[in-house]
């Protein structure tokens, strides 16, 4: 497979620091706008978890010229779709609309970037606190195994680590947020100098440049952006945690500290995840589901951010199966992998699959826009599509084995969610 991406894009920076990336593609029936603010839960402090995410909700509560509910209403009336998302390291807002509505999107995004605060009040804040508490209930507290991830994070990292707490935060913290804190957060982080905007799809670049200057050029903001909390690389040792919950089947979660995104071992860890659990013939799926038939499912992931990463293996036991046997088999298979090595066909299949998955994921305009922004944020260059693929193409069995020994060792968290007694 010799496919190479060739995106004809341009990048420039406005006088106020806003980075602009334009990718015109007249074949697309729409235009997608993605704004990335370089702030996430990694910027929060103890006792204020969930602030970045709550703030994302407030960005949809109206701004000086946009009434509450207006952002959604205008985009939906234009036939578009929209949302936002908050991670550890960044917060992004995205909308895809028919081409004629590009100006509408730029107007809306600029209004909340420049003039959010005049429209914020206590009632909106309290309403969105209630909504976020419900979001937390729906997605975590009331969901089977829903709090496993935050338990793992809390045990992988000490409390000063930027990835110690879940992005959504804890309810007791969320309830305490004040309008003054919201205003300070906006002034600190929602500055054009701390953001980048991607416009991708069917539009005229010349007109887009003018519109972006017209709507964003006059926005001012601080250029002294506070950085993320820095990692304190705690050395962990093996720890078993057992939690009883309202579930029927035991589930085991094994978590190691690993490499940061685009770090030298990040791609190797992706490939290791793939050959452990992605397909029927992957090491753990074959053993647990087909040979021993003791597991309902098994999955793994390299989860990496700006400063740090974690590697997870998760498996649900069938009824009547002791989760210890899942644990022992997973560890046994990792030992076998270290002892016998990785077969060349395992490596080539995994790389092939990751590459094709990369191509398939870029069918959607919003995914292209998002990827431009992420490359720009993490690597300082929006056009790193081919570099990203080459990270996998250049891997060798030797480098994978080094990564395996380096990270998937006996220092891990062993979380078991068990049915209530």
């Amino acid at each position: 497979m010799s496919f190479r991406f060739d995106f004809n894009y341009e990048k420039y920076t406005l006088a106020n620091g806003l980075e602009v990336i334009l990718y015109p593609d007249s074949q697309k029936p729409a235009v997608s706008v993605n704004i990335c603010y370089k702030v996430g839960s990694a910027n929060e402090i103890k006792g204020k978890t969930g602030f970045a995410h709550l703030f994302e909700h407030l960005m949809f509560q109206g701004s000086k010229n946009v009434p509450k509910g207006g952002h959604f209403r205008y985009i939906e009336d234009a036939g578009g779709n929209l949302n936002g998302g908050t991670g550890f390291d960044y917060t992004h807002y995205y909308q895809t609309v028919p081409p004629d509505s590009l100006e509408l999107v730029l107007w809306l995004e600029s209004d909340r970037m420049g003039q959010l605060l005049p429209a914020l009040d206590e009632e909106k804040l309290q309403n969105q606190i209630d909504v976020v508490i419900n979001e937390r209930a729906e997605r975590y507290d009331n969901a089977p195994y829903g709090t496993a991830f935050e338990t793992l994070l809390a045990n992988l990292h000490d409390e000063n680590h930027p990835y110690h707490s879940p992005v959504i935060g804890f309810s007791e913290d969320i309830r305490t947020f004040t309008l003054d804190e919201v205003k300070l957060f906006f002034e600190n982080y929602y500055s054009p100098a701390n953001a980048s905007i991607v416009v991708a799809g069917s539009f005229d670049p010349g007109s887009a440049r003018k519109l972006i200057e017209q709507y964003f050029g006059g926005i001012t903001g601080t250029k002294n952006i506070p950085g993320e909390n820095l990692i304190d690389r705690k050395k962990i040792s093996y720890k078993i945690i057992e939690k009883r919950e309202n579930v029927n089947l035991p589930r085991i979660h094994l978590a190691w500290r690993s490499d940061k995104i685009f770090g030298e071992d990040d791609a190797s860890l992706d490939v290791l995840s793939h050959l452990l659990t992605e397909t029927k013939s992957s090491r753990l799926k074959k053993r647990l589901i087909y040979d021993d038939q003791i597991s309902l499912d098994v999955s793994s992931a390299q989860f990496s951010g700006l400063q740090d990463g974690s590697f997870f293996i998760i498996s649900t036991a069938k009824q009547g199966v002791d989760p210890q046997s899942l644990h022992d088999i997973i560890l046994g298979e990792l030992s076998l992998l270290k002892k016998d090595g990785i077969r060349p066909d395992e490596l080539s299949k995994a790389i092939n699959n990751i590459k094709s998955g990369n191509i398939y994921s870029l069918m959607k305009l919003s995914s292209i826009a998002q990827q431009f922004n992420l490359y720009n944020y993490f690597l300082g260059n929006p056009d790193m599509f081919n570099f990203d693929i080459s990270r996998y193409e250049n891997l060798s069995i030797e480098s994978l084995m080094e990564t395996l020994d380096k990270f998937l060792n006996d220092c891990y968290i062993d979380l078991r969610i068990l049915p209530n007694e």
């Binding site: 697309k28 029936p29 729409a30 010229n65 509450k68 509910g69 209403r73 939906e76 009336d77 234009a78 036939g79 578009g80 779709n81 895809t96 609309v97 028919p98 004629d100 509408l104 730029l106 107007w107 600029s110 209004d111 420049g114 309403n127 606190i129 209630d130 909504v131 419900n134 979001e135 209930a137 729906e138 507290d141 009331n142 089977p144 709507y215 006059g218 926005i219 001012t220 309202n246 579930v247 029927n248 089947l249 397909t279 013939s281 087909y290 038939q293 309902l296 649900t316 069938k318 009824q319 066909d345 995994a350 092939n352 094709s356 998955g357 191509i359 870029l362 069918m363 305009l365 209530n420």
Partner: protein
């Protein structure tokens, strides 16, 4: 800052050109519908076989059969199939709904021929081994048990059982445990022989290959298929309990999961456009009345939406939400308030917003190859005309607010709702049941997943 903007930039609707689908009949029982796109070197393909379950068949039969088809076919076992797919970077999935069986492929064009050859083996020469069957059945049974931890799964399963009572749509595709326990490999082999092998198939594809080249490949690997799919069996008795709130007690719930709905007409119904617009205003997009009320005004929920569960023969309208337990009663009251308010009609602004949203969002639904493939597959799956989307857009363009308001009181009938609540606290539900004049019935989780519900 001195930036002043007092005017909202206008959006202008231009007529939409939907992808042109070319249709070819490739012999008896084999139809190809294709759209050529050359922006990426990939092809999407859906093989669709009509598959209405026949009343009396064990639920879950179609699903387990679809799971087993790629557990070994032709000269390859399950691992070799996966290895081949991985080496090509191809994704291939097989699944069943109540109405259809699907084999879907997403492949690099350079591997299209090999991918279709593999699809042929899966469709024509699956192994269907008993050992694979026993393993898969056990996994599915465990999955159902796992899913029973999930409030939304429980609510949806019970809602379908009630609203589609005594029809092929009453069970989840995975099947009820009672049926899964009785399923045998012979059931699967019979099902495959009579319902899949040699049954007429439609192929919908989008990608960078010419129609004629693709037609040759399909004809080569899938020769004439002569058997028509069995027809849907009409249900003798379709009785729905719409005077009871069904309550599933789920311990330690932080939220109550609510589903409320009733049967409705299908996609071929005359007043479909009115229904789509009214639903859009009530609970469609984020800006809908229900979401503005329950989320943005009261903060009872993270989100609420309503929509249509369209099947080929029987359909339902339903809304669903998870609300904090303390506000179960308040949320239900507001839901009923909004339904009643809708009956009184909609404003000009709301009509125009909903119409704009519905019409102008259509191009975005045809953005990617996968979206286009699935959109046209839906036409086939539901037995709809090839110009369905164009006709629907024309009807929307001609729709007036008077037509919509005239229909507002009929859209959701007051004859009653099927209501399911899953949660911890029963007291507020008792209160609203009494106020509505509804009965309240407790249902056990074990009975929901086993299919032991009687009315």
């Amino acid at each position: 800052m001195n930036r002043i903007i007092d005017k909202i930039p206008a959006s202008v609707f231009h007529s939409t050109n939907l992808p042109v689908m070319n249709r070819l009949d490739l012999g008896e029982g084999l139809t190809l519908i294709h759209h050529e796109v050359n922006s990426l070197p990939i092809v999407n393909l859906n093989f669709i076989i009509p598959l209405p379950l026949i009343s009396g068949e064990k639920s879950g039969t179609a699903n387990i059969t679809s799971n087993l088809l790629n557990e070994g076919a032709g000269k390859l076992n399950a691992f070799e199939i996966d290895d081949l797919l991985e080496s090509m970077g191809t994704t291939l999935s097989v699944h069943a709904s109540a109405d259809n069986f699907y084999l879907s492929i997403l492949t690099l064009t350079e591997n299209l021929e090999k991918s279709i050859s593999l699809a042929r083996d899966i469709l024509m020469t699956p192994h269907l081994n008993e050992s694979d069957f026993l393993r898969e059945r056990e996994r599915i049974r465990n999955r159902v048990v796992r899913m029973s931890d999930d409030a939304s799964y429980l609510a949806e399963t019970l809602f379908q059982k009630i609203v589609f009572n005594n029809s092929v749509y009453e069970s989840p595709v995975t099947g009820f445990l009672n049926d899964l326990n009785k399923l045998t490999i012979d059931d699967v082999r019979d099902f495959y022989q009579n319902r899949i092998k040699n049954v007429a198939v439609s192929v919908v594809s989008v990608g960078n290959i010419k129609l004629t080249e693709l037609a040759k490949l399909i004809q080569h690997f899938l020769p004439d298929r002569r058997i028509s799919a069995p027809s849907f069996q009409k249900t003798d008795q379709f009785k729905i309990d719409n005077t009871t709130i069904y309550f599933i007690k789920r311990k330690d719930s932080k939220q109550s999961e609510i589903i409320l709905g009733q049967p409705t007409g299908g996609r071929k119904e005359k007043r479909l456009a009115e229904k789509i617009i009214l639903n859009s205003i009530l609970g469609g997009p984020f800006s809908s009345r229900l979401n503005q009320n329950l989320r943005e005004k009261h903060g009872y929920t993270y989100g609420i939406s309503s929509g249509f569960n369209f099947n080929k023969h029987l359909s339902a309208w339903q809304l669903s939400t998870g609300v904090d337990s303390e506000n179960t009663y308040n949320a239900l009251k507001q839901i009923l308030f909004e339904i009643e308010r809708l009956e009184k009609g909609i404003s000009d602004n709301e009509f125009q917003s909903a119409l704009d949203h519905t019409l102008m969002s259509i191009p975005l639904q045809f953005e990617t190859q996968t979206q286009i493939t699935n959109k046209y597959s839906n036409l086939i799956s539901n037995g709809l005309a090839h110009d369905y989307f164009e006709n629907f857009m024309r009807i929307l363009h001609e729709l007036s607010i008077e037509q919509v308001n005239e229909y507002a009181s009929e859209f959701i009938t007051k004859k009653g709702f099927v209501i399911v609540v899953v949660g911890e606290r029963i007291e507020p539900v008792e209160k609203i049941a009494a106020e509505m004049g509804y009965n309240l019935k407790d249902v056990k989780i074990e009975d929901v997943i086993s299919g032991n519900i009687t009315f």
